[in-house]
């Protein structure tokens, strides 16, 4: 497993807020944020893969059955490939995504966020036989519920994570307003909150918007009724002309 990145080793102390994100620092000092996926999406992805495999095997067996002995031979080879190599080939050659994971929006990566390789993929898929024990992935379920990063046993052995793929987000339209300059300095988080306020207008009720904006009325030096328009203006100012 490549060791190009260091996991922030200490698990979050009990007082730190619980979060599903894992922060990983690369040697270049860049923080990568991984979002490991837990049991439910993974179970769904697995079910989809299982169905696809069943379908492939079923259809191919029907077709090959008509070919007689030769078909049965081909079927045996196909069975081997689908059972042992379906996941591995898709994961390594398709950026860590089997079809089921692709549909749900997951992918497999190493613990440090690098793309999964042959060794890790083979390990995690061969060790399904440990996860399946004693019946129907019982050990895998328990391990997935209990480990940080929602890993089943195969993931622990191979050093892999199943994470959500980052989808490119579309910029939501801002509420129309005249760009304004913020009357006080803000850090990144605060600027983001103001922007989000302007971006999520559609999802909030009018009363709630006024209530939220009123919190900032005093620092902005305006009356609570004008605060909303002022915040929207500042958000436009923060966004710039882009």
């Amino acid at each position: 497993m490549p060791s190009t990145a260091v996991r922030h080793a200490p698990p979050a102390p009990p007082t730190a807020p619980l979060d599903t994100r894992l922060r990983i620092e690369t040697p270049e000092g860049i923080d990568l944020i991984l979002r490991p996926a837990s049991l439910v999406p993974r179970a769904l992805a697995f079910t989809i893969d299982l169905a696809i495999r069943g379908l492939i095997l079923g259809v191919m067996f029907v077709l090959l059955f008509t070919l007689g002995q030769f078909g049965m031979g081909l079927g045996a080879i196909l069975m081997f490939l689908v059972t042992w190599w379906y996941m591995v080939l898709f994961e390594v050659l398709n950026q860590g995504r089997s079809p089921g994971k692709q549909i749900i929006g997951l992918r497999v990566v190493h613990d440090d966020g690098t793309p999964v390789g042959w060794g890790a993929s083979l390990t995690r898929n061969l060790l399904r036989f440990a996860d399946i024990l004693p019946f129907g992935y019982t050990l895998g379920i328990l391990s997935c519920l209990n480990s940080r990063g929602f890993k089943r046993l195969g993931d622990i052995a191979a050093g892999t994570l199943v994470i959500y793929r980052d989808r490119s987000a579309e910029r939501p339209p801002l509420a129309a307003a005249e760009p304004l300059r913020a009357p006080f300095a803000m850090n990144l988080e605060e600027q983001r909150a103001l922007l989000e306020f302007a971006e999520r207008q559609g999802g909030l009720s009018a009363a709630r918007r006024t209530e939220l904006a009123a919190i900032l009325a005093e620092p902005l030096g305006v009356s609570p009724e004008q605060a909303e328009a002022r915040i929207n203006g500042i958000a436009h100012g923060l966004l710039g002309s882009a």
């Binding site: 807020p17 619980l18 031979g73 379920i141 909030l204 030096g221």
Partner: protein, 527 residues
């Protein structure tokens, strides 16, 4: 409820991620949740088992039906724990009867089969609404994320089954084999004997045990979905940050106000703009070039010089690591659409394979042909492997005797002397004594040949025709036989003196050498 006390990171998540947060939440309080669940559910199961001993399936059904009632306790614990007020086990159990009252009948009847049960429960239990308001609230909250809630329930059903069957299998696997065989036979012979009820109740118990693991997670996932929905609807994350801004600026604004007042009172001097604290943004008119403008011009280190120095530092290692990589590549590197290309080529491959298969089917014995081909490939592979590692095999896999026979090829002639045993007389010492007087050269030659022959034959020295006499002596020394090496060096010295220096050995050495020979090799015939 104070958002600033929340023990989870509040931000809008996707529905799946909200479920993940629920798993984390359940894990953090796993001990309390599982213990409380076990303490309320297992006694109920025991009671049901006692009441419905004859009908284990009915006991199971009633227990299953009562699940929503039990689920209120984990939710109570989680809702308190979310804001840092985790109850103790005793407190939670004491609170349980009070939690049961509202909407119990609805939960156990028409809401029992709702797939979004875990998502709706927080509304029923925590918000305390009633009637139309509650229904409206459910509709509003259910506009999104109900899909994830349904999937949670569906997956949950299967997980319960998997855990339950896993427990059953594990129990079956640890049974002694004889016992399980006996059980099977008894069940087969007398299925109606009536002694099997305890087995059914045991399986009920295992189901209850599986629920201890899964139900807290299920409730926590529903709860976190509910939290996520409210975070999105009410912008909790924005509220948190806004409050923080107000808290931070509350003091600053006051100070600014005072400062401005003071400034207005004082006459305007030229330097006040430069002394303004950096917390205030400079006005755009005062700073036309923005942050890139030259500053600090009155001192030795101007902003321009310092920026240049910083740039220089950042341009050198370790901040900068430039590499020039030169490699060959093909001129046309088309940007191909991976997904579609793969699918299409796969489809073509499948079609081709299908046509090929149809064609093959028409030919008789094609299966046999391929069978032969595959077997031939297998044998070919084995043969290739054997050939590839033949030296390794001869080194490690054959016996010692055979190896020596193979390795040794005995030379027949050394230094122009015949050294085969056949070319030597039987009684070496006697022949030497007879020859010594008339033909000393032949006598000594015979003795030396005989020595070489014995070294080759008996001591298996790897002598080659390229060795010199000195090298032969060295090889003899490596045998660590003092008598032999002393004799060999003596004989070699005499032989070299005679052969190359034409100096006959002294007469006394005849007996000495022959005697030595007899002592070393006796009279026997070397074969």
């Amino acid at each position: 409820m104070r958002l600033t006390d929340a023990s989870v990171a509040i931000r809008p998540r996707s529905a799946w991620e909200a479920l993940d947060l629920g798993v984390l939440l359940a894990r953090r309080h796993a001990g309390l949740l599982m213990a409380s669940w076990a303490l309320i559910s297992l006694p109920v199961l025991a009671l049901l088992t006692a009441l419905l001993w004859e009908y284990p399936s009915w006991a199971m059904f009633v227990f299953w039906l009562l699940k929503p009632a039990f689920e209120r306790l984990p939710l109570y614990i989680l809702s308190r724990a979310l804001f840092g007020d985790t109850p103790t086990l005793g407190q939670a159990l004491r609170a349980f009867p009070r939690l049961l009252k509202p909407q119990l009948i609805a939960s156990l009847t028409w809401r029992r089969l709702s797939p979004t049960r875990s998502f709706d429960l927080p509304v029923l239990q925590l918000e305390g609404l009633s009637g139309a308001a509650r229904n409206q609230r459910l509709v509003v909250l259910g506009q999104r994320d109900t899909g994830a809630a349904s999937w949670l329930t569906i997956v949950g059903v299967h997980l319960e089954m998997a855990l339950w069957l896993g427990l059953v299998t594990a129990l079956y696997m640890v049974l002694p084999q004889q016992m399980s065989i006996d059980l099977d036979w008894q069940k087969l012979i007398s299925p109606d004997a009536g002694n099997w009820l305890w087995l059914d109740h045991l399986s009920n118990l295992l189901y209850a045990l599986a629920l201890i693991v899964w139900e807290p997670v299920y409730v926590a996932c529903g709860f976190s979905l509910y939290l996520n929905r409210r975070t999105a609807l009410e912008a909790w994350d924005i509220e948190l940050v806004f409050r923080r801004i107000r808290q931070r600026l509350g003091g600053v604004a006051y100070a600014l106000l005072v400062g401005l007042g003071l400034l207005l009172v004082q006459p305007m001097e030229r330097s006040w703009a430069q002394d303004t604290p950096a917390a205030i943004c400079p006005l755009p008119e005062a700073d036309p070039l923005g942050p890139d403008a030259d500053r600090l011009q009155q001192q030795t280190l101007t902003s321009k010089a310092s920026r240049a120095a910083i740039g220089q530092l950042l341009d050198a290692p370790p901040f900068e690591n430039r590499q020039t990589v030169t490699r060959w590549r093909f001129g046309d590197d088309p940007q191909k659409d991976v997904d579609r290309g793969d699918v299409e080529s796969l489809g073509q491959l499948l079609r081709g394979l299908f046509h090929l298969a149809e064609f093959w089917k028409s030919i008789d014995g094609i299966a046999l042909f391929f069978e032969v081909l595959l077997w031939a490939a297998l044998f070919g592979l084995i043969g290739l492997l054997l050939w590839r590692y033949r030296e390794w095999l001869t080194l490690f896999a054959t016996g010692r005797e055979k190896r020596q026979r193979v390795a040794r090829e005995r030379p027949a002639v050394l230094f122009g002397l015949q050294v085969t045993p056949e070319s030597l007389p039987d009684d070496i010492a006697g022949s030497v004594e007879r020859l010594w007087d008339e033909q000393p050269r032949e006598a000594l030659g015979l003795l030396y040949r005989a020595l070489l022959s014995r070294l080759l034959g008996e001591f298996r020295l790897p002598l080659k025709s390229a060795h010199t006499e000195g090298e032969v002596l060295q090889l003899v020394e490596e045998l660590y036989q003092d008598d032999l090496s002393a004799y060999a060096s003596r004989l070699t010295r005499h032989w070299q003196n005679l052969a190359y220096g034409h100096r006959p050995p002294p007469l006394s050495s005849r007996d000495e050498l022959c005697q030595g020979w007899r002592q070393l090799f006796g009279h026997g015939v070397p074969r």
